[in-house]
């Protein structure tokens, strides 16, 4: 049996069937269909990953084998990395469906239909070996995401959904323009074939422009600064299960696509490599730190978590931009660890919404004392984000740190600073909301600025996926996972190996690189810093006045300026995006 097309086809077919029968189907059956489809996709992708670890699979749709080095049809190239990311995406979807059990009772099956299409698009995006096909799945991901974001019709900030739509649409145009340029040069759409065709050209402005356009489009989706503005607005409106998918997997999958394009097409081109190693690495570090700072400024819990996602995307980008198998393996592990942790945190935010009909940190102060388990999970999530040396996220982090040290010794510290700030923000929220720490804000502050309403559901039931996600993340520290990730990264970063695999020739065997870790010292430092910052913010009113003033004087203008940049104005966002493209252009001249 051919498994390769199934991770895409099964969710899409399930969506079609749901549309046809939705009038006669009770909600529990629709929910169950969603979960089962996602689990089936997870299983098939896992089987594919298992096969791919022995030998990557190339699957030509329509049976169109390439003829003398020219790809005629579209291929799926299933290497271990792609299959595992697809598998993980499906798992996150299963969690989101489980968390959304009985939640979407007022749109018949429409919501589930869109989520299933979203899932099919994401697996296709991970597996495809053709750049226009990548664009199609990118667009399919976006379109199904647009509607589910705006689904919460009570939400007051619907323009968040609209800004998300507009920015991502522009992103897809950038991507398409980049594809057109590459096609104009090479007359090919298959990654491997383009890679071979451009390998000979050195320092070509056309390729630089194509690279900037392709990466601009994908970095919009990945929410890397200065392309990131839409993300927080979208998360503020989207329902919790959708946020789980957005933060848990969508942004990191976009980075995965970018890395795929780099390794299969641009890896041998010297100027591009230089730009990735400089500009993208610095963008990653800047995103990590600035995202962390902005995260600390938020009091809307979903917005806060959204900014923490931006910060962690920066870490992932830095890992990829080191251009080493170690950093790439770190990215894979970090992708999984961060997806599970952030997914769990967004579910907890959903539980708060469901139990207290509010999502404002100040207004919720002490309100959630009745949810101790959720509180523990939330704090644990904060510690993991800060860098607790345990589990998948930490393994990934240590690999990334080690690779980044090779470029600049200070990079791991800045990445740790960003993560510590996000951890601090989450810990502060946990302390304030679940324990009641911090100053009493008084009546006026406590009244929510906006009406938020959510369907009430039993919190205990909703905790199941949260706990599963956290356990999965924390139990994954075994060396086995690391070895698999390194092996996947070795195949993933092999430019020539990919081309021979797709277009024929003997696949060279590559030695699996050994794992190099940074020590746990920096992790503990980061956790300690997070706890101190959270403690300082909660206990501000009790600290000596001079300390408070100094802190304000040093940090406040900077933080305020950062927050002011997030105007929520679509014109500003588009202007910032242009600025990002300009950065690419300047980096190439440099």
């Amino acid at each position: 049996m051919q498994l390769a097309p199934l991770p895409v086809v099964i969710p899409l077919l399930a969506a079609v069937v749901l549309l046809a029968v939705e009038r006669h189907t009770p909600l529990w059956l629709v929910d169950a269909t969603g979960i089962l489809t996602a689990l089936a996709t997870t299983g098939i992708a896992a089987m594919l990953a298992d096969k791919a670890l022995q030998q990557p699979i190339v699957y030509w749709f329509g049976g169109w084998q390439p003829a003398s080095g020219v790809a005629i049809g579209i291929s799926f190239v299933i290497d271990p990395a792609g299959a595992m990311v697809a598998c993980f995406s499906a798992l996150v979807f299963a969690g989101a469906f489980l968390f959304g059990w009985n939640y979407f009772d007022d749109a018949m099956a429409r919501f589930h239909i869109l989520m299933l299409v979203f899932l099919g698009a994401m697996t296709g995006f991970c597996l495809t070996g053709d750049i226009f096909n990548l664009f199609v799945f990118f667009e399919l991901m976006s379109v199904s995401a647009y509607a589910v974001t705006a689904y919460k019709l009570e939400a007051s900030e619907i323009e968040g959904a609209l800004n998300f739509t507009v920015m991502n649409t522009i992103g897809s145009f950038l991507l398409l323009a980049g594809i057109a340029l590459l096609y104009g040069r090479t007359g090919a759409l298959n990654f491997a074939q383009i890679g071979r065709a451009v390998a000979s050209s050195k320092g070509d402005p056309l390729l630089a422009m194509a690279f900037a356009l392709l990466f601009g489009g994908l970095l919009i989706k990945a929410a890397v600064m200065p392309f990131h503005f839409w993300l927080a607005d979208a998360h503020a409106v989207a329902p919790a299960p959708v946020c789980v998918v957005f933060s848990g997997i969508m942004v990191s999958v976009a980075l995965f696509g970018a890395a795929r394009i780099y390794w299969t097409i641009f890896a041998p081109i010297q100027p591009v490599t230089e730009v990735v190693k400089s500009l993208l690495l610095y963008l990653g570090v800047a995103t990590a730190v600035l995202g962390g700072c902005t995260c600390l400024m938020q009091r809307h819990i979903k917005r806060l978590l959204a900014f923490s996602t931006i910060s962690h995307v920066g870490v992932m980008l830095a890992g990829l931009a080191t251009l080493t198998p170690g950093g790439t393996a770190g990215f894979f592990l970090y992708l999984a660890g961060h997806g599970l942790t952030k997914g769990a945190l967004f579910m907890l935010a959903g539980i708060l919404m469901s139990a207290h009909q509010n999502i404002d940190e100040i207004a919720l102060r002490g309100q959630a004392r009745d949810l101790p388990t959720s509180g523990v999970c939330f704090a644990l999530g904060g510690l993991v984000l800060a860098g607790l040396p345990l589990g998948l996220m930490n393994s990934g982090r240590e690999l990334i740190d080690k690779s980044a040290e090779g470029t600049h010794l200070w990079i791991p510290y800045l990445l740790a600073l960003g993560s510590a700030l996000t951890g601090a923000a989450v810990l502060r929220t946990a302390g304030r909301v679940f324990v009641g720490l911090g100053p009493d804000p008084g009546e006026e502050e406590q009244s929510p600025s906006k009406m938020e309403r959510d369907k009430r559901r039993p919190s205990a039931l909703l905790l199941i996926p949260v706990i599963v996600f956290l356990l999965l993340c924390l139990s994954g520290q075994a060396r086995l996972v690391e070895d698999v990730a390194l092996k996947a990264a070795a195949t993933f970063t092999n430019h020539d190996g990919y081309a021979t695999l797709v277009l024929g020739g003997q696949v060279p065997s590559i030695p699996t690189p050994s794992a190099e870790h940074s020590g746990p010292l920096i992790d503990w430092l980061s956790v300690a810093f997070a706890v101190v910052v959270a403690g300082f913010q909660l206990g501000r009113h009790k600290t000596p006045r001079c300390l408070r003033w100094t802190a304000d004087l040093v940090a406040f203008p900077f933080f305020k300026a950062l927050d002011l940049a997030h105007t929520g104005h679509i014109g500003d966002y588009a202007a910032w995006m242009t600025f990002g493209l300009l950065l690419f252009a300047i980096a190439f001249v440099w």
Binding site: F173, G568, I570, G571
Partner: protein, 114 residues
């Protein structure tokens, strides 16, 4: 002439973006997005063009006669139809915006800030 079509495409892309940046009305903004989209179509079709070649349809002239690239045409064709559907989705989001906020001018919308 040899690169003029590409410049027209770049021009359309940039003025479309300019429209997005400066728009005072979300409906107008969506109209500007269609200009950006048109830019990508022009670029795609321009790179697949062959001087003096015919359409890649061999109904009247036999296979083997020079024809322009059918691949870019297929890419653009589907994208035009799909683009219209996405535009409809954008428009329905704007309708929601009007219902909830009473305005469709980006300048009038309060920043999503706490």
């Amino acid at each position: 002439m040899s690169i003029f079509p590409y410049f027209v495409s770049a021009w359309l892309f940039l003025i479309g973006l300019y429209g997005v940046v400066t728009s005072r009305n979300y409906v107008h903004l969506i109209g500007c997005l269609t200009v950006v989209q048109a830019a990508t179509y022009v670029l795609l079709l321009a790179v697949g063009y062959k001087t003096g070649a015919g359409a890649p349809i061999f109904a009247d002239h036999p296979p083997g006669t020079p024809a322009v690239d059918p691949v870019v045409q297929a890419l653009v064709l589907t994208d035009i139809v799909v683009g219209a559907a996405v535009t409809a989705l954008l428009l329905s989001l704007v309708l929601q915006l009007q219902k909830h906020r009473g305005t469709i001018d980006p300048n009038d919308l309060q920043p999503t800030r706490d």
